[in-house]
């Protein structure tokens, strides 16, 4: 398909609309198909009206407040961490920046168990604390990204006019929307989390969350009832995402092509460095350290010293869990690759649409598979694909790849859209004037320019596909997976095997980021202010 030439500055939607629509439809077909059996109930007002019941209303409001608290903690921890990692001149800042996304890749329950193992903490406040830590990398990453794109001129003017204090204030102004956006994403993830709340609410201070109410309906195999019960959560999550995307469109005067310099804080560098290390320790080093320690704890596996027990636990994990981890990696790779094919067109579309309600609405529509409960999504996939029409596809290894790609492609779309949006339009417009088709421009020019981000988008889907438990239980081709093995063993004890297998999974989850860092290379230390 050829592009019609567009005059500079004309909205891109005027050309290439047909192939854009086809690409978008392909994504919606893959991602929305499993939603179809539950969609009417999911978007119905029936579920909302059930909130009239006092018990459900109180539960729902408390869950929303709980998610807001987690978002606040995530922002309070994540925003300074992102600022220190991205813009403070100190030794090891690049390493800190590289570590930022890693906690996001760990299953929240793993972090929760580590903190519980360390401190014996319980109850709602502990769940809040842990979920806040789990999702702190979201504001941290977004703040780091926003500050990396802060205009050099604005930064230097602030340094000249008001020294470090004004420069920091300018950074805070620049990072505020990103911190809010990150907090809102933490809110969304917390809203639908069931495992961590269930774990900390198990004994001690009693509390439960609305997602448990949703779960009780799936338990009765009443998938429409489950979707109806989930409707208020999905509606709230959709509304929050809509306004978050609108807020994220705010122009804060950034967008410089080159990264502004890091800021020296004088003696304050020590404080910033200490704070950065303390925060990354809380969100990553302590939980992982605890898991590694547990690999050699006293238990039924191995004899002798810690090291011998740990070695025995890793050998046991490799023997019993290795094949499952291998299958999870293959499924995740297929899902990631599919997402890399599916994500560019909607990402391009989102990047090129004018900021506003229409774009935010499209964002919410793309994100819907992610906002819907995983169990409902999995049951929907069974109802849609377990038909003669699909032959053996239902039991093949391709089905989980397709379903997992459908559920997690929104993550790839948002990441890629943000990166594509940062690219200048001039190259695209020149290609259009030269008569190059828009698919060719997208694949050969724009994606080539953002290859690390494109790979990262696929890697992100790979990671979330490996982490996914609910769909792995429900989809035949995904059942013999690392997640099912891990949670199955966890039922009995947090023994050496569980710790070693958890550490192995964490290492695999970190791999895509490590590879991406290898492709991109560590950024050299920037010049001083």
């Amino acid at each position: 398909m050829r592009l019609r030439a567009a005059s500079p500055g004309a909205p891109s939607l005027r050309y290439g609309a047909a192939w854009s629509a086809c690409g978008l439809l392909a994504v919606l077909a893959v991602a929305w198909l499993p939603l179809l059996p539950t969609l009417p109930a999911l978007l119905s007002f029936g579920g909302l009206s059930e909130l009239a019941e006092p018990r459900l209303r109180a539960l729902f409001l408390r869950t929303a407040a709980f998610a807001a608290g987690s978002a606040l903690i995530a922002s309070l921890v994540g925003a300074p961490l992102g600022l220190i990692a991205a813009r403070v001149r100190m030794r090891g800042a690049e390493v800190l920046e590289l570590l930022l996304p890693l906690p996001l890749l760990l299953p929240p329950l793993l972090i929760a168990q580590s903190w519980h193992g360390l401190t014996g903490m319980d109850g709602m406040s502990s769940a809040l604390f842990c979920l806040g830590l789990c999702y702190a990398p979201l504001p941290a990453l977004l703040v780091a990204r926003a500050l990396a794109r802060q205009g050099i001129g604005a930064h230097q003017a602030a340094v000249l006019a008001g020294g470090r204090r004004l420069a920091l204030a300018e950074m805070a102004r620049c990072a505020a929307p990103a911190a809010v956006l990150g907090g809102a994403l933490a809110f969304l993830f917390t809203l639908t989390d069931f495992a961590v709340a269930d774990y900390f609410g198990a004994v001690g201070e009693k509390f439960t969350v609305y997602s448990f109410e949703v779960f009780t309906h799936w338990r009765e195999s009443d998938y429409r009832g489950g979707a109806r019960a989930a409707a208020p959560l999905v509606a709230l999550a959709g509304a929050v995402l809509f306004f978050t995307l609108l807020w994220g469109d705010r122009d804060v005067g950034g967008g410089g092509a080159s990264r502004p310099p890091r800021l020296g804080l004088g003696r304050g560098n020590w404080i910033a460095g200490g704070l950065g290390i303390a925060l990354i320790a809380m969100v990553l080093v302590v939980p992982l350290g605890r898991v590694l320690y547990e690999t050699g704890m006293r238990g039924p596996v191995g004899e002798g010293a810690w090291l011998a027990r740990s070695g025995a636990a890793f050998r046991d994990a490799a023997q019993r869990g290795g094949p499952d981890l291998g299958r999870s990696i293959v499924t995740g790779l297929m899902a990631g690759a599919l997402a890399m094919v599916l994500a560019p067109v909607p990402a391009h579309l989102l990047a090129r649409m004018r900021p506003g309600a229409a774009r935010s609405l499209l964002g919410v529509a793309i994100a819907l598979p992610l906002l819907a409960p995983a169990v409902g999504y999995g049951l929907g996939a069974i109802l849609v694909f377990n038909r003669d029409l699909f032959g053996n596809f239902y039991e093949s290894r391709l089905l989980p790849a397709v379903v997992l790609a459908g559920r997690y492609t929104p993550l790839a779309v948002f990441l890629l859209a943000e990166r594509l949006r940062a690219l200048p339009r001039s190259g695209e417009q020149a290609a259009a004037l030269a008569g190059i088709s828009q698919p060719a421009v997208l694949w050969r020019q724009r994606l080539a320019a953002q290859r690390p981000a494109w790979l990262l988008a696929g890697g992100l889907v790979l990671v979330f596909a490996i982490r996914e438990l609910d769909l792995a239980v429900l989809l035949p081709g995904a059942n013999r997976s690392a997640a099912v093995r891990y949670y199955n063993a966890l039922h009995f004890a947090r023994d050496n095997f569980v710790a070693a297998f958890g550490a192995m999974i964490a290492a695999v989850l970190f791999l895509p980021l490590a590879l991406q860092a290898a492709v991109r290379g560590l950024r050299p230390a920037t010049e001083t202010a």
């Binding site: 018990r55 539960l59 329950l109 014996g120 495992a195 269930d198 609410g201 198990a202 004994v203 001690g204 009693k206 439960t208 109410e213 779960f215 009780t216 799936w218 338990r219 009765e220 195999s221 998938y223 006293r298 238990g299 039924p300 299958r327 499924t331 790779l333 297929m334 690759a337 599919l338 890399m340 094919v341 169990v375 069974i382 109802l383 377990n386 038909r387 239902y394 290894r397 391709l398 790849a401 694949w443 050969r444 994606l447 080539a448 290859r451 494109w454 438990l469 239980v473 429900l474 035949p476 059942n479 013999r480 099912v484 093995r485 949670y487 199955n488 039922h491 009995f492 004890a493 947090r494």
Partner: protein, 340 residues
């Protein structure tokens, strides 16, 4: 370097998918018993018969109802041949939904009739007992853990103990059975009294077991498989069977159950599997495993740690179909008490 094209990536995905496909299974078993214990039984069956078995497993985190949900969702085109449930109520529910088919296995002879469906749709085997797990080192000198279920709601015991919320799994089954025997209102009243007395309610049996191991509680009500893991992991714990006094109700035994799915694609292999899994040999293997399941066949040789009904404790008499019929209603009623 040019970016790879979409068709190239798709071709890679398809190739990877095809490469990942292996030989089709001769038998598909959906299994809710923990994979750690059931996997070796499936492997042994494969070894004995040469049949390829596809095992699909559940997890405790979703309260082990994933396989039941799947069987119901797949009802128009069943994929499972056999369902091996780690409890009984959901299996009876599948029968009531018309999703099972009858088969009487000769291996089931000897299993008490209480644990067999009169229509041969399901058979129970290898049970778990509901017991008190307690820390021997934390129990104050001269005191005893609760001996009767009603002791759990006594403030003298309640503050130092825990049990799972009766919302899922064997605890839901246990309190549904009690509702059938004592009446729904009496059980709700019992739960309210226990809460008021300070009894802690956990997310699951394994949760409360772990908290006892960590020293948060002196005792908990749990299943024998969880108790066995606590002991095998080196914790200073012991178990006690409830309601063993003269005239007491006895200890509830909740069996694994196995059934053949209606419309099974491999019925012959399914029957062979049922014959195998219901044999005394498999019960002995499960008794010797980390989960220490209680055999229902008489005369099965077990390790000394495994308590046997009529030898080491008295089991509760249960009308399982009547209890299973109440399950959904009781789950909703208990949710009113605990999900708030």
């Amino acid at each position: 370097m040019r970016s790879p094209s979409a068709p190239a990536i798709l071709a890679c995905v398809l190739l990877a998918g095809l490469a990942a496909c292996g030989r089709q299974a001769d038998l598909v078993v959906y299994c809710s018993l923990d994979r750690e214990h059931s996997e070796r039984i499936l492997a042994l069956f494969e070894e004995r018969t040469g049949l390829k078995v596809e095992g699909q497993f559940d997890v405790e985190r979703n309260k082990t109802v994933g396989m039941v949900n799947r069987i119901i969702a797949e009802r128009d085109r069943p994929r499972a041949d056999v369902y091996w449930n780690n409890e009984i109520a959901q299996t009876i529910r599948l029968k009531d939904l018309g999703l099972t088919q009858p088969y009487f296995s000769e291996s089931a002879r000897g299993i008490p009739e209480d644990f067999r469906d009169p229509d041969h749709h399901w058979t129970g085997f290898a049970a778990r007992a509901r017991v008190i797990l307690y820390r021997v080192d934390l129990l104050p000198a001269g005191t005893r853990p609760p001996q009767r279920l009603d002791d759990l709601a006594d403030p003298a015991f309640a503050k130092s103990g825990a049990m799972a919320q009766p919302l899922t799994g064997t605890t839901l089954t246990h309190f549904t059975v009690l509702s059938e025997q004592r009446g729904a209102a009496a059980v709700l009243d019992w739960l309210e009294r226990a809460k008021a007395a300070g009894l802690s309610f956990g997310g699951g049996n394994a949760d409360v077991m772990r908290r006892v191991c960590e020293g948060d509680f002196v005792w908990c009500l749990t299943d024998t498989d969880d108790a066995a893991v606590a002991r095998r992991n080196g914790n200073p714990v012991a178990t006690l069977h409830l309601d063993q006094e003269a005239g007491g109700a006895g200890t509830l035994l909740i069996p694994n159950t196995v059934c053949m799915i209606a419309g099974a694609r491999h019925p012959d292999a399914a029957r062979k599997f049922l014959d195998f899994v219901l044999s005394p040999e498999v019960e002995a293997l499960l008794a010797a495993s980390r989960s220490e399941q209680v055999p229902l066949h008489p005369g099965v040789v077990t390790p000394p740690e495994v308590g046997l009904p009529d030898r080491d404790f008295r089991a509760m008499k249960v009308d399982w179909p009547a209890a299973a019929a109440l399950l959904k209603d009781r789950a909703e009623a208990f949710a009113e008490v605990f999900v708030r």
